[in-house]
């Protein structure tokens, strides 16, 4: 995760460095001899040109011979059998007595390998002793180290023990544990050295110090010795393999000479000899045990093998340690995640459950802030950027990030706008739930100082010489401090994994809630059609007996009026009025129940036309009251239900006339464009409303006057409110007793569909949660 801002001065040259094919170098370190053999007779086809100094035989004579002529016959037989096996480890290493002149023998450690082309290569290094190091001493060495390791508590101490033990076993002046980061640069995490040497502990080294081909080599060749960094390398004779007519591939060779640039690097560091042991985790180069010696130093094959063994054993222990150190934290995260999931399943919508316990949500990723975006609505927890900033961020994520769970510890580096809120969100984990629905976690900027081993911006320089340009590593490895900004503490893999787990749970919950929603919608549809059926029953079946009462009472009056006294006529009057009120009530309830979002199509409607219709319907009443209607603004065309809009105007104007004062009624209709809605107003100069009743008047059947004062059912404004709610708008009144009233209502500019897309108020029952709209 760690990213650094180091940019290299000369990228082109460094790319070249990356491309250098180290393994095609035919140069060999002079302390040993390489023999390229032709099977099955094991004829020598190539040899390093130091053969004379080792065997007293010139290279051109060597390539005339077979291995048999060099070794004693008994040994040759064993080897001949050995190299026929697939696994050459059974004969590696082999002590070899090579005949010099006459009966003069030289003892070598001989190691066979086949290179990538299948060519058999024998590498001979002078043996330090005639005896193999006894297995038991090797075992004791390793056991002592491992025992000590097991008693060590922390990973840091553990790494320290490793370098200590390796140094003890090998006697190098300096032993370091070097760990690669995600971006291939690395840092020394443990060091054991001679006191007077300059410490490299905690220093970072740029990726170019160990370029890609070198890292690849370390992955395949787990142990690498350079006994003398100043030794003149020797070449193979002949240079090209006579069979393939190409230089032979020495990738897996232990004697292969280092790349000159690396040697120069070692020289600049003051290193005379080095031993490098690769630490591989799941096939990936995790790090290195790097041993430096000020003077040339030879490490016998067995000891190297012991170090490699130690490295492997130790390393498997490091992996375990890393895992178990994560384990407790992982358990804690798992527990928190279960709690969150539990909360989510128990809440009506997952967002409520997710933010119910704010600290758990933050602790899940050790974040300082979190934000949940669902259906365009934000729920913010802790320290976060503003909603506006988050809207832009989500748009950017939606367009640029494909991962379901994305994380960065330097958002501003990939999304420059984040610079503005680096103090809360330099680090980001973004979990995409579905299109544009996200859960985000934030970490603030932490200014970190990275200590580099020398200036990483000038890791190499270009040297012009007679042979042309070449790259030369830096001379100074002195502490070079770099301040890293716009970066948060890195997210741990366990935290990211936790978020991935959480995502799976949320997706399941959302899917399940969607199922429940579908069921709910079915229920709604069912109850809606039942309601329609009820409305019909009300309009017909309830009306019919009422009509009969009304008609027959009237018939009674018509036929027998002349025989009835005044009381009887009053009684008939009350009966007729009662029935007629009942009929009006039923009619109004019917209208109210018909105001419905379903079934009515919202179309582009001219508000002016709807108003004209309402005025036409009311013309008799307007005329009777001599009412003045003033339309003070041009009315817009908007997405609405034409009939409902007409009804709305009609009810408001009827009210304005009905509740007139002594003065001539004056009714002014206006409209203003707000940001995303139209604000209509219907102002009158009537009796006004006591503000304490300004809510009550919109409630079904609520009246402020007796029917004797003002007839009516108390349904008019309730119907208005329902119409406006169907249009996802608001309606309210501003008034004072005796000073007239102004009714305001809003209708969203794009109609209710637009509002449905942007707001969850419209779908309160789904994911919206607690607040009432």
């Amino acid at each position: 995760m760690k990213s650094t801002s180091v940019k290299f001065a000369n990228v082109t040259s460094l790319n070249e460095l990356e491309r250098q094919a180290i393994h095609t170098s035919s140069l060999v370190q002079p302390h040993g001899v390489i023999l390229v053999l032709q099977e099955p007779e094991l004829k020598i086809v190539q040899v390093t040109n130091n053969s004379y100094s080792v065997f007293g035989i010139r290279p051109e004579e060597m390539i005339e011979r077979t291995l048999e002529e060099l070794l004693d016959p008994f040994q040759f037989e064993i080897i001949q059998r050995g190299v026929k096996q697939d696994n050459l480890d059974f004969i590696n290493p082999t002590k070899m007595w090579a005949r010099k002149q006459g009966d003069d023998y030289v003892i070598f450690d001989g190691v066979f390998h086949r290179n990538t082309e299948g060519t058999l290569i024998l590498e001979l290094e002078p043996a330090a002793s005639q005896e193999n190091i006894p297995f038991l001493s090797f075992y004791h060495l390793a056991r002592a180290s491992i025992n000590q390791l097991q008693e060590t508590a922390s990973l840091k101490d553990f790494c320290q023990i490793i370098v200590q033990e390796v140094r003890k076993v090998t006697g190098f002046d300096r032993v370091m544990l070097y760990k690669f980061d995600e971006d291939d640069h690395g840092a020394v995490i443990a060091e054991e050295k001679l006191d007077h040497l300059e410490p490299y502990l905690n220093l970072h080294f740029p990726a170019s110090d160990i370029p890609k081909p070198a890292r690849k080599l370390f992955s395949s060749n787990w142990i690498r010795l350079i006994p003398d960094a100043y030794a003149e390398p020797v070449e193979l004779f002949p240079l090209k393999n006579p069979q393939s007519d190409r230089p032979v591939d020495l990738t897996l060779s232990i004697l292969r000479s280092p790349y000159p640039c690396h040697l120069e690097y070692l020289h600049n560091m003051g290193v005379g000899a080095s031993l490098t042991i690769s630490l591989i985790e799941n096939g990936k180069l995790w790090g290195l045990i790097a041993c430096h010696h000020l003077t040339p130093k030879y490490v016998p094959y067995e000891l190297r093998k012991a170090c490699e063994f130690l490295g492997r054993v130790i390393f498997s222990e490091i992996s375990n340690r890393e895992e178990s150190e994560d384990y407790d934290y992982r358990m804690k995260l798992t527990q928190m995640r279960s709690q969150l999931i539990n909360n989510m399943t128990q809440s009506e919508n997952f967002v409520d459950g997710l933010v119910k316990d704010e600290s758990s949500l933050l602790d899940l990723t050790a974040a300082v802030g979190a934000a949940v975006c669902f259906n365009g609505n934000w729920t913010l927890v802790g320290e976060t950027p503003t909603e506006e900033e988050l809207n832009f961020l989500v748009q950017w994520l939606y367009k640029n990030i494909e991962e379901e769970v994305f994380c960065t510890d330097s958002l501003a580096e990939i999304y420059p706008e984040a610079d503005a809120y680096k103090n809360v969100a330099s680090g980001l984990i973004a979990m995409a739930i579905s299109r544009r629905n996200y859960v985000l976690w934030f970490r603030p900027e932490v200014i970190q100082t990275v200590n580099w081993g020398g200036d990483p911006n000038n890791a190499y320089e270009i040297i012009n010489s007679e042979v042309g340009q070449r790259l030369s590593p830096r001379k100074s490895f002195e502490l070079w401090k770099e301040e890293v900004r716009l970066t948060s503490l890195p997210w741990k893999q366990v935290e990211i994994n936790g978020v991935k787990e959480l995502r799976r749970a949320i997706v399941n919950i959302v899917l399940r809630q969607a199922d429940e929603l579908a069921l709910l919608a079915q229920d709604l549809e069912r109850s809606n059609s039942e309601l329609k059926r009820f409305a019909y029953v009300a309009s017909h079946d309830l009306q019919e007996p009422l009509n009969h009462v009304s008609n027959y009472v009237q018939l009674l009056e018509m036929r027998y009026g002349d025989r009835l006294d005044e009381d009887a006529k009053d009684f008939i009057g009350f009966a007729v009025d009662g029935v007629s009120l009942m009929q009006t009530l039923i009619d109004d309830v019917l209208v109210y129940s018909k105001v419905d979002t379903q079934g009515s199509e919202f179309t582009m409607t001219e508000a002016g036309v709807a108003l004209e219709q309402a005025l036409t319907n009311l013309q008799k009443r307007i005329r009777e009251n001599n009412a003045q209607i003033i339309i003070s603004d041009p009315l817009p065309t908007l997405k609405a239900d034409n009939t409902q809009l007409m009804q709305l105007f009609q009810n408001l104007i009827v009210n304005a006339i009905k509740f007139r004062s002594a003065a001539t009624p004056e009714i002014e209709i206006g409209v203003k464009r707000q940001e995303d809605e139209w604000l209509f107003s219907v102002r009158d100069n009537g009796i006004g409303i006591d503000p304490q009743f300004s809510e009550r008047i919109f409630v079904i059947f609520q009246r402020l006057h007796t029917r004797d004062e003002y007839p009516g059912t108390g349904m008019g404004l309730a119907i208005c409110k329902k119409i406006i709610e169907c249009h996802r708008g608001k309606i309210w009144v501003e008034s004072e007793l005796g000073k007239g009233s102004t009714f305001y209502f809003t209708i969203p500019v794009g109609g209710r569909e637009r509002d449905l897309r942007n707001g969850r108020k419209a779908k309160n029952y789904s994911f919206g949660g607690g607040q009432q709209s």
């Binding site: 079946d541 019919e544 009422l546 009509n547 009304s550 027959y552 018939l555 029935v579 009929q583």
Partner: protein, 148 residues
Amino acid sequence: MTLEMDEKPKIILLVEDNKADIRLVQEALKNSSITYQMETVRDGVAAMAYLHQEGEYADVLRPDLIVLDLNLPKKDGREVLAEIKNNPQLKRIPVIVLTTSKNEDDIYQSYELNANCFITKSRNLNQLFMIVRRIEEFWLTTVTLPPQ
């Protein structure tokens, strides 16, 4: 004007389940000068039997005008209307839907089924009487009905 006094009286078939409604229609026409014969049936099945001259209605004459309520027992008024208008022998008889309903769906559906007109009963007695008399006047005297 095709008032022909010597013709046999026109027959109106009133399909209405409610006695009170039947009586109101009769009361409305009490003092009418027009000669007509009013027959009533109380449900949709009886209405169809009457029109097809089946069972107890084997001897009746086909009506000249049908006044049909929509909500009827046994067979709904809409079904009755559909059957009449789909029957080659009956489809020419004018059908007036007279109902308490003001429901738009009912109005639309009735005309869709080729009702000749749709009238909502008034709550006001005077208006109701006027409607019934106008129906009588218009359909029995003003228009020329198809020959039997």
